[in-house]
């Protein structure tokens, strides 16, 4: 059975699904499974951004607030100012990248701990979002815009397509581009990377910018799906995204892991919530169930890891032996 160990994450996902389908006949309905993929899409997009940040040894607590600010801005540009869709989307992505740039610059140039600067950025961007919308909700977008959230291409819902595209792009980046190797190198040992010629500061900044852009993108999908935008959205996203990354096997210490694992992490979280609704679990106990299951699953996963010290599913620049 040893050959199964590298696929422990998939296995856990399968076991989870098997268990739930045993408890609820509705789980394996096609429409339910598609729902799950669609619900997981936004978390996945955010998770991808969080993954690359965590691989460099950092963290991004501001992704929910950046999501809110960029989508509120896009909403105002679309509805109040009446600008065309591409302009609004680009504006949102620009805001996301600006926030990411500030985060990245503060982390790399000023050497502020990522936790604090992204925590502060979370407050700052959330405040801007509130000031922008003054407590109102903007709702009712054009069908063309809504297509991003509610449309289908070849029968597949758009959010799933967008999340899949993002995932594949970043798997490609992390596996086949120099930038990808640099991300891992910086996370594994920043000093050694710098000495071997990698522009570590630039890598870090780019990683946070990407996280910001992905947060903004997630914001666009979010508002297209909900047909509304308001300043309070996304409060729970940072922790959920981090959980998805960690469940997916990327450790907080950085230098290892990958986007592929995060997909599984996002699915796991979404599936558990779906199951709780299907099974009618009391509202009071839902956080309990989620917390307990996450612990159980990661315990199982890390136990198998420690016993057999498995290689990662996706190739990675390992830490130098003996370091």
């Amino acid at each position: 059975m040893k050959f199964l160990i590298p696929y422990s994450r998939f296995l856990i996902l399968l076991v989870l699904c098997a268990l739930i389908s045993f408890l609820s006949p509705h789980f394996l309905q096609t429409s339910n499974l598609i729902n799950i993929l669609r619900q997981a899409a936004i978390l996945n997009i955010l998770g991808v951004g969080m993954t690359i940040v965590i691989i460099t040894g950092g963290i991004d607590l501001s992704n929910g607030a950046v999501l809110a600010l960029s989508s509120c801005t896009a909403a105002i540009l679309l509805k109040d100012v009446g600008l065309p869709m591409p302009v609004a989307i680009i504006a949102a992505l620009l805001i996301g990248s600006c926030c990411g740039l500030i985060n990245g610059a503060m982390v790399s140039k000023v050497a502020i701990p990522p936790f604090v600067i992204t925590y502060a950025m979370m407050f700052f961007t959330r405040g801007l979002a509130f000031l922008l919308l003054q407590g109102k909700i903007i709702y009712g977008f054009t069908p063309e815009f809504r297509f991003i959230g509610t449309g289908y291409i070849w029968g597949v819902p758009m959010p799933i397509i967008m999340s899949a595209v993002v995932t594949f792009i970043f798997i490609f980046i992390q596996k086949y581009t120099p930038f990808g190797s640099e991300i891992y190198a910086v996370g594994a040992d920043e000093e050694a990377s710098m000495l071997s010629g990698i522009r570590t500061k630039s890598v870090v900044i780019r990683v946070y910018i990407l996280s910001g852009i992905l947060s903004a993108l997630a914001g666009i999908v979010y508002m297209a799906r909900l047909n509304a935008s308001e300043p309070v959205i996304g409060e729970a996203f940072p922790l959920d995204a981090i959980a998805a990354v960690l469940i997916g096997g990327t450790p907080l210490s950085g230098g290892e892991g990958g986007v592929g694992g995060t997909v599984i992490g996002a699915l796991v979280i979404t599936i558990i919530i779906n199951a709780m609704n299907l099974l009618g679990i009391s509202s009071l106990l839902q956080t309990f169930v989620l917390g307990a299951l996450i612990i159980i699953m990661i315990s199982v996963q890390s136990h198998s890891r420690r016993l057999f010290s498995l290689p990662q599913i996706f190739p990675v620049n390992r830490k130098a032996a003996g370091s």
Partner: protein, 315 residues
């Protein structure tokens, strides 16, 4: 290495300049009005509170009162509301209007205000203790009962119902649900398929509705404890093509809920008229300060809004 004290001085100077310009340009402290008041709502995460704020500010403008609206950063956090009250007492405001996030938890704050001789008005939610000048509003439980009764009547007294609960532990959500439960208890032909929380959020309402729709092929009615979740449910069922066969009700009479009702997507909502609650709360405080008699309870009727009367409420 720059000496520490020089660095600190420079930063302090920069800070002061920034702070000064911000402070005076944008959001000045209390200007000169006849009375100074603070108005503390429960959170910023719902347009309901924004409407209450605008109602309160309208009263403030009419009566020449300096009003500042504050909301906890952690939504529905009564300890933060307590802090605002303490800070208001420090600033010697003339009156405090507070919507208690927790009817018991706010009492220490009210007692402090009582001790300082500052009158307290509690719009929308009651406080179970301390000396309160007046309460304005409608009972959440009663309005919840009205909405649910109306919806059940439309259903003809029988059918499958799903309840979308609010944030766990939230008193408003609990009261509204109690209203729903009481109404349902009077109709034995009604079956409650599920009662799940969607945390007062639109996206969670959408998610929970999608999930529940998988399990239950026939849903006649969805009653939600606020409009945000109801609208999320609307989106979910609309996308699944099941909106025609399911009626949905919300609570709060937010603008997009009203729009949704006029489009025939939502059945009804309840209007607690937060703007009126805010307005009359401030007016009551003013009257108290002016020495006029003020009733202990100021009941403001909260109509159920459906397609028949939605036009007059739509802005």
């Amino acid at each position: 290495m720059i000496p520490r004290y020089k660095m600190v001085t420079v930063l302090v100077a920069v800070f002061m300049i920034v702070g000064l310009s911000f402070s005076f340009a944008t959001d000045p402290a209390f200007a000169a009005g006849k009375y100074k008041m603070i108005f503390i709502v429960k959170s910023l995460d719902n347009p309901f509170w924004d409407r209450m704020r605008s109602g309160a500010e309208k009263a403030a403008k009419d009566l020449d009162i300096d009003l500042k609206t504050l909301a906890p950063i952690k939504p529905y956090n009564v300890e933060e509301q307590l802090r605002f009250m303490e800070d208001g007492i420090t600033q010697k405001v003339d009156a405090i209007c507070v919507v208690p996030a927790d009817s018991k938890g706010i009492v220490p704050g009210i007692k402090k205000a009582n001790k300082a001789g500052i009158p307290v008005v509690t719009p929308n939610s009651r406080a179970y203790g301390g000396k309160v000048a007046t309460w304005t509003g409608a009972q959440n439980r009663d309005v919840g009962y009205d909405i649910a009764s109306y919806a059940l009547k439309v259903l003809g007294g029988k059918g499958n119902v799903i309840i979308l609960e609010g944030t766990p532990g939230n008193q408003t959500a609990i009261d509204r649900k109690k209203g729903f439960d009481d109404a349902i208890a009077e109709h034995p032909g009604i079956k409650v398929l599920a009662s799940q929380t969607a945390k007062y959020s639109r996206v969670e309402g959408m998610r929970v509705m999608e999930n529940l729709a998988q399990r239950f092929p026939k849903i006649d009615l969805v009653i939600a404890t606020n409009d945000e979740m109801a609208l999320g449910a609307v989106e979910a069922l609309d996308a699944a093509g099941r909106l025609k066969e399911t009626k949905i009700t919300g609570f709060d009479a937010n603008n997009d809920a009203l729009k949704s009702i006029s489009e025939g997507k939502m059945l009804a909502t309840g209007d607690q008229r937060p703007d009126a609650q805010g307005y009359w709360g401030v007016v009551a405080a003013y009257c108290y300060l002016e020495g006029m008699p003020v009733p202990k309870d100021l009941f403001l009727p909260a109509p159920v809004i459906d397609a028949s009367n939605v036009k007059q409420h739509l802005k």
